[in-house]
Structure formats: structure tokens, C-alpha cells
Symmetry: C2
Subunit: 295 residues, 2 copies
């Protein structure tokens, strides 16, 4: 492809109202760099980029040419290995690479597993971009959008509050079983009367703090969360029930409570990254149950 | 009982090597106060009392006369109600009363559930003592002692390290099933190859931080914990396995990972609190599974 033909096609597509970058041929010799790609995400995400954020390049340099993108919920070593095998050298991950929300590595630099993962990433010429705060900050929240689609809850979501859902009345047992089936969760944990009538549900994908959790409990029959502390929201909901309130809590597990949001992120990235392949890399629930060991 | 007869019996028992206070008659007219009782715990626990600690009186005053003691894992409202019904007006709890490790209430003072619990406690003339740090700090750790006894692991514990256990070789699946049966856990979560050979186990009852967790992973085949973050130790163990390490993680749930330690605490308290009844108040696993709703 010459510059001339590129500029002609760019002109043509611009006249059709499509952004010029959609016409760039995949694997063009002047490949996108990681830095250019991050700039493009910053432009597209639709909210101002924050000064305080965990969203940054965890591995690799802005100058690294991108061969392909793996979009994933958590850049575990397994995901990194699978991305490398597919020649996807930029991983966009919602959760940390190095076992802490801020991806702080000072305290684990001497750890052999940290070194193994870090060296693997470097030797394979890879980069990892942590994309957490701004994907949640997008309006509506990108994780919520993907989870709502995965669960088929589009008709149930409140138009003014993407955390609030209204359902035809069911029981807590049936509602939990339904979520467990749709998200393929073996280790879901539920607190509340199995026969509790359920209509209003608040969902907090991922981790939830006590004060957020309390405000959700006050607004719904059931609060659905990914992860929380047993001595915080779990105790609060137990107490609400002991005080006679008709409440329940469903704990999905962090990973499966957000993963579909990154499946959606991969589709969103494809809309404005035509030059390189973009793939969603899925993973299963991290756990198995004592009565149902993985074969 | 006159002072004379008391002093005779005290003399008699002292001559038999028993502490004099073991002979005080239960429900004596000059009842112990909460403050005196806490002072006795401080004397008996065998380590210096810390300046920085969560162990303090959360409800009630040091002047409150103690009618009876409820020793429990977590002072949920249900436990508080059951203690009140039994006229046990001092609760000794390992976990918080008010949904945060420090039992900070500033941010929930307007919350109706906080007010309900607080008023119930005040109206029933109760006190609550948070007994976490020093029960763990006791040598050996009081929680560990109770859990080891509950699990029947006395012969397996390393004499130099009460977190480390050696077992005749088994598989991860069998080891997890055995723990789940002994502790009656429905929602145990396990990471690792079900056929992994298991001999060395490190246990961290309750919550575990990343750096503690990493050091335990490096010392054993299986690490057993109560609670941890999915983006911290869970990811680390998944990575260790992906890197070819023969490792596993068992997450018991916080509550059942420590409760037997407070059952033991009740027995310990009885040794030096003869004046009033001391009862262990048990609670069940807080959760049920989606495929096995509580009837």
C-alpha cells in the first residue's frame, strides 16, 4: 500500500462519514504503536483521562509496535501465555497483572514467580495496559454494559441507574440459580431466605466497599456483588436480615462478575482499531468446590 | 458465703495450687465489672497489651456488672439477640460488631440498622469487647490452637511453626473434601489440580495479605486461608500453577476458618472466670450455594 492509495482510501471513507483510521489495512507496515493505541482509547472512551488512576502501561513501552490485541478480564500468566501463542503482543486487562490494584512491584521484585512472568512478557516483546477506571467510568459503565448483555437484563435495567434492575417477582433461590446458570458459576455464595420475594436488584460488578454496599442494600431486595469482606458487607446483610429486613446478598466471585464486561470491551476496541486483530481471551471461574473437584 | 469461709477455701485451694479466684461462687453479690474482667484477660493472655490494637470495648462501660459472657466469632445481631436471651450481657467477639475492622462508626451513625443494633445493645445493658489481636498474638495463637483441635491436626502441626502441617500424602481433592466435612463448609473454594499430591500445608486462619500469602505458598503444597482478594493471592496462585509449580489454595471462608478458635477461647475464659457463666455462641456458615438453597 502506497501513501497515495492510503490517502485516496482515507478520502473516500471520510466522504462516507467513517473515521479515516477504520480503512487502514490490517498489519500495515507502519504499524500502530502501543502509545498511539492508548491515545486512541483515551480519545474514544468518552470521559476525561484522570490524573489519579491505575490505568497505565504495566509492561512494555509506548514505542512497541502492536501486532495484535488480547482483551481480557485479568492478565494471569495463563492469559499471557495464550496471547503470546496467538501473536497478540498487547494485552488490555481490567484487573492487575502483578497481584495488587496499583500493580506495585517493589515488594515482589525478588519473587521468582514475579520474575518468571515479567521475563516471559519481556522475552515475548509484549506490553500490558491496565484498563480499569476509565472502562468503569465510561457512560454507561463498560463493565455493566457487558454484564447486562451477558445476562440478558437489557429490559430490566433502570434507564436512570444502570445498577438497578426490576424483574417479575421470583424467589431468591430461583433468581440465584438463574444467575449461576447464565454465568456458569459453581461457587456462588448467597445470604438470605431462599423464599424471599425478589423484584428489585442492585448490582455492583467487582469489589464493593461497605458504604457503597449499604446504600445498595437500602435500595433493593437483593444486592449482587463480585467480592466483598466477610467482616463488612456480609455481616451487615446478616444483621439486616436479623433485624427483620427483607434483604439478600449474592456474591458471584470477582472474576465472573466482570468478565463479560471485557468481552464487550474487545468488541468496542474493534470499532476503532482496524489495523490489528483484537481478540477477547476468556477464562473460567478460578475455583472449584470441595464436593465437585475438577477432573 | 462469709469472708471467713471464703478465705478458708481460698487458703485450701491455694495450697492445692489452684488460683484463689477459681473458688469465688458464681453470681456473687459483688459482681465483676466489665473493666475488671478485661484487666483479667490482659493479665492472662500472656503477651504485653499493645498500644495500637482493635481490641477494646466497643459497647458498654468498664463499670457495667457482668452477668454472663458470650464468647463468639462475630457479634452479629443474631448473636447479640441470642446472648441477650440467655442473660449473657458481655459479648467477647473476635470479629467486628460494626462492619469494619476498627469498628469505626462515624460514617454509619445515621444508618438505621446501625442504630437498631446499637440501641438493642444499650437497652439490654450489654457490653461488647473486641478480642482479636491479642488472641492471635497469644503463644501459640489462640485461634490456631482451636482450629487445630477442631480439625484433629495436633499430630500434624510443626512444633516450631504452628502454621505448618505435614500429612501422610493424599490428593488435593481428598484433602479439601476432608476439611470441608470437618468444618461443615458448603462454599469452600479450591484452586489447583484435584490430583495434586498434598503433604505440606500452611494455614492462615482468617484474612491473608498478599505478602504473607506468597511466603506461605513458597513453603507448602497447599495454602489454606479464610479470605483473600481475587486480584491478589488468587491470581498469584493461579500464576504459580501456570508456571508449573505444584501448588494449590483452599479458601474456607473467613467465619468458619476461625470460629473454632473462639470455641477454645470460651474454654480458656472459664479457667479464670468462675464468677459468671461463660458460653460459646456458635453460628453457621453465612452462605448457601445456588444449587443448594437453604430451606
Amino acid at each position: 500500500m502506497t501513501n497515495l492509495s492510503l490517502s485516496r482510501r482515507t478520502f473516500l471513507m471520510a466522504s462516507l462519514g467513517l473515521p479515516a483510521f477504520r480503512m487502514l489495512r490490517p498489519h500495515s507496515p507502519q504499524a500502530l504503536t502501543t502509545g498511539q493505541l492508548i491515545d486512541r482509547i483515551k480519545t474514544q472512551v468518552g470521559i476525561p483521562w484522570r490524573e489519579q488512576t491505575v490505568d497505565r502501561l504495566i509492561e512494555g513501552t509506548p514505542e512497541l509496535p502492536v501486532k495484535g490485541i488480547a482483551c481480557t478480564m485479568m492478565a494471569t500468566l495463563d492469559v499471557v501465555q495464550r496471547a503470546a501463542a496467538k501473536n497478540l503482543n498487547l494485552i488490555i486487562t481490567h484487573e492487575p497483572t502483578y497481584y495488587s490494584h496499583q500493580d506495585r512491584t517493589e515488594s515482589i521484585e525478588q519473587d521468582s514467580l514475579y520474575q518468571y512472568k515479567h521475563n516471559f512478557i519481556q522475552q515475548h516483546g509484549m506490553a500490558i495496559f491496565h484498563f480499569h477506571d476509565h472502562w468503569h467510568g465510561r457512560k454507561p459503565d463498560g463493565i455493566a454494559t457487558g454484564m447486562i448483555r451477558e445476562l440478558g437484563w437489557q429490559k430490566n435495567v433502570d434507564p436512570e441507574n444502570h445498577r438497578l434492575f426490576t424483574f417479575p417477582q421470583t424467589t431468591l433461590a430461583r433468581f440465584a440459580q438463574n444467575m449461576s446458570n447464565k454465568l456458569n458459576i459453581q461457587t456462588m455464595r448467597v445470604i438470605g431466605d431462599a423464599q424471599l420475594p425478589v423484584k428489585r436488584v442492585m448490582a455492583s460488578w467487582g469489589n464493593v466497599s461497605l458504604l457503597q454496599g449499604i446504600s445498595y442494600v437500602n435500595q433493593a431486595d437483593v444486592v449482587v456483588v463480585g467480592e466483598t469482606h466477610e467482616w463488612e458487607l456480609v455481616e451487615y446483610v446478616q444483621d439486616a436480615i436479623a433485624a427483620g429486613q427483607k434483604k439478600a446478598l449474592i456474591i458471584l466471585g470477582h472474576f465472573l462478575s466482570e468478565q463479560a464486561g471485557m468481552k464487550y470491551c474487545a468488541e468496542w476496541l474493534k470499532e476503532f482499531i482496524p489495523e490489528v486483530p483484537v481478540e477477547f481471551i476468556a477464562a473460567k471461574e478460578p475455583y472449584w468446590r470441595a464436593d465437585k473437584p475438577v477432573k
